[in-house]
């Protein structure tokens, strides 16, 4: 069926709820409202209020409750309305979700998913355009996943729900309804922890994820150079092998992300590239990112967001080096 990303995520949730009675969905307005982006639409009709749970307005409570549910045999999929409110979950995610397996030597585990829209591009209010994936990625014990297309979203979310460890699932707001593609109605899985080569090329490797992938595709469409595009998919634990192998071939790398530059994911990716491929590198790794400032309100956002030209400039800088 042709689905946009919202529908694909909804389909993954519905399939997993159907298949496994221990899967529950919880969050603010996920029930009759179907979530502010309609991602959970219809689920409450099919699976009832006890499994599609409208919670009070409390992110730490949602997360802590999900963790407790996971201790006791459920597989909760909790929704945070926007990534900018997920900072309220960090005490629970860092101090409990990420550590319970290690703390109990594997006896108590936290198979949960924390879903949230992330990234910019919907001209939204303050705190609705965050890309702070590095906050989560630096925590051992958490997995951080970002899908880039509807198909990917279905496959990655299905795997995330079945994963034995806590997964942060970041949904690029901008891509929710951007395009439709064929997505299987039935079960579809994409393994976590494996990057995807979107397009092969010889001159330069461009690494991105989420809403950056279609942007990169558009940016390089008419370039002379032969560009390899890698969709990282899993920010952590990162599949740096695929990236490093590619850069060993191309000798050049550009990392593109929506987060501000400093201490962003690009720093880790660049470091792993240098560490793994330094002798093959023909130029420094380019980081094409937002600047180190707060996301501006909508009237100023053009000074912030990564655009196609910036990606082309980055590629050119590395080719010219």
């Amino acid at each position: 069926m042709m689905m946009n990303m919202v529908q694909a995520i909804n389909s993954a949730l519905a399939m997993e709820m159907e298949r496994d009675p221990s899967v529950v969905v919880l969050g603010e307005d996920v029930g009759v409202d179907g979530g502010v982006f309609r991602v959970t639409e219809g689920l409450v009709d099919k699976y009832g209020e006890a499994r599609v749970i409208d919670t009070p307005l409390a992110e730490s409570g949602i997360t802590g409750m999900a963790i407790g549910m996971a201790f006791n045999g459920l597989r909760p999929v909790a929704e945070i309305q926007f990534m900018g409110f997920s900072y309220l979950t960090l005490n629970q995610m860092i101090n409990h979700a990420a550590r319970m397996r290690n703390r109990t030597r594997g006896r108590i585990t936290v198979p949960m998913v924390l879903r949230m829209p992330y990234g910019a591009g919907v001209k939204a209010l303050e705190h609705h355009s965050e890309s702070t994936e590095a906050l989560y990625a630096q925590i051992p014990g958490l997995k951080v996943i970002v899908p880039s297309t509807p198909l990917e979203a279905k496959g990655l979310l299905t795997s995330a729900i079945r994963d034995p460890d806590p997964v942060i699932f970041l949904e690029p707001t901008r891509s929710y309804r951007m395009l439709k593609e064929e997505v299987p109605d039935g079960e579809y899985l994409v393994p976590l922890g494996k990057a995807r080569t979107v397009q092969e090329g010889d001159d330069v490797t461009v690494v991105g994820w989420g809403a950056m992938i279609p942007l990169i595709q558009r940016a390089v469409a008419n370039l002379q150079a032969s560009v390899e595009i890698i969709d990282l998919r899993t920010i952590s634990p990162m599949d740096s092998e695929t990236v490093v192998e590619s850069v060993k071939r191309t000798g050049r790398a550009v990392v593109v992300h929506e987060a501000p530059r400093s201490f962003g994911p690009g720093a880790e990716i660049a470091s792993r590239i240098y560490e793994g491929a330094i002798l093959k590198l023909e130029a420094p790794v380019e980081r094409v990112t937002a600047p180190d400032i707060t996301v501006p309100l909508s009237k100023g956002e053009d000074h912030y967001y990564v655009n196609e030209q910036m990606i082309r400039d980055g590629i050119e800088r590395t080719l010219r080096f």
Binding site: E28, L57, A58, K123, G300, E301
Partner: protein, 351 residues
């Protein structure tokens, strides 16, 4: 003390003016005709400015916007109890309160149009900017009040938030701090029955939100939020209490959000037309207008409507005329002084 007379644990609610605009004289607060009229002007302006904002949003000239419709009395009453030096800490649905406290309408529009200059109020207005993370402004209000108290100043800090906000940990931590430090705070919970689609009953099993004050050792009172006189009366008592150093108060305003949560929302998904119609009957403007007309303070509001229309149009035009921030505007206020690498990024475009 109204807080003694009206016990939320017994389900008692303060109401001065009934749904037809008849006032209980024993509860009527002292307010001059002038001030009453000014209050009505404010409520009318709020209603009309709100309508306009929704229209602007539909035309793509303003971003997502949270309408105040139905909550004009609930917001205004408490603001009327403030003096100039007092602080007003709001969430995002209190336009009327801000207009009363001295924020120009064009500034508020500018904010919803996506310009940080919309958070810059006139000097000395003592209004904090819009706060989107629900409930997170509550501890700020306590800190502001603590600072006033420490310096021996008599200023009071009033904080607004919604029914949904009472579920957040920061509501709890903030009110608990206020109780412990006995700060000059007034907390106004605008219970408009919804947090987006989530009904008040699903927000907490507590019979009232006002009774949550019991957990913090200070008084709470439940007030008819569509009655601007009751909201004023309750807030006046609370502000006076705070100013006298007698600690904080929690006011639950029982009201209704007559419109969508924001312009991105559609209330038909989660509530019936009948329910909304029922509350339209209780419209705080109608009620207050009926009272003012019965008291011959107001004859009709046709002229006022015309006047307000002009104000609203002018404000919208002024806000739209403000240029978008420059690149250096969006970089310049990250730190007091720009670090060298940020200067590089400011200059560098892509880098």
């Amino acid at each position: 003390m109204l807080t003694d007379e009206f016990d939320p644990m017994k389900g008692e609610m303060l109401r001065v003016m009934d749904e037809e605009g008849n006032v209980d004289p024993s509860l009527m607060p002292k307010l001059s005709d002038d001030v009453l009229l000014k209050a009505y002007r404010n409520m009318l302006l709020t209603r009309m400015a709100d309508d306009k904002a929704v229209k602007l949003q539909r035309q793509g000239r303003l971003g997502a916007y949270p309408p105040s419709k139905g909550q004009e009395a609930s917001q205004l009453g408490p603001a009327m109890a403030l003096k100039e030096g007092d602080w007003l800490v709001w969430a995002f649905r209190e336009m009327g309160a801000l207009l009363w406290k001295g924020a120009p309408l064009q500034t508020l529009y500018l904010y919803w149009m996506g310009n940080e200059l919309g958070n810059v109020y006139p000097d000395g207005a003592r209004i904090t900017p819009a706060v989107v993370p629900v409930g997170s402004q509550i501890p700020h209000a306590v800190g502001i009040a603590y600072a006033s108290k420490l310096r021996g100043e008599k200023d009071v800090t009033l904080a607004y938030f919604g029914d949904g906000a009472t579920s957040e940990g920061e509501f709890h931590e903030g009110l608990n701090f206020a109780g412990v430090f006995h700060t000059p705070n007034v907390f106004v919970c605008q219970n408009n029955q919804f947090a987006i689609s989530t009904r008040r009953e699903k927000q907490s099993a507590s019979a009232s939100l006002a009774q949550k004050a019991i957990a913090y050792g200070f008084p709470g009172i439940l007030v008819d939020g569509n009655d601007v006189l009751a909201m004023y009366a309750a807030a006046k008592e609370a502000v006076d209490r705070a100013r006298k150093g007698k600690g904080p108060t929690l006011i639950e305003s029982f009201t209704y959000r007559m419109s969508d949560h924001t312009t991105s929302d559609d209330w038909r998904k989660y509530r019936s037309k009948e329910e909304v119609a029922e509350w339209e009957r209780k419209d705080p403007l109608k009620r207050f207008k009926a009272y003012l007309i019965a008291q011959s303070i107001l004859e009709d509001d046709e002229l006022l409507v015309k006047e307000m229309t002009e104000i609203v149009e002018k404000a919208a035009a002024e806000a739209e005329a403000v240029p978008a921030p420059s690149r250096s505007d969006v970089f310049a206020h990250t730190y007091a002084e720009m670090p060298p690498y940020l200067k590089g990024q400011l200059g560098g475009g892509g880098k």
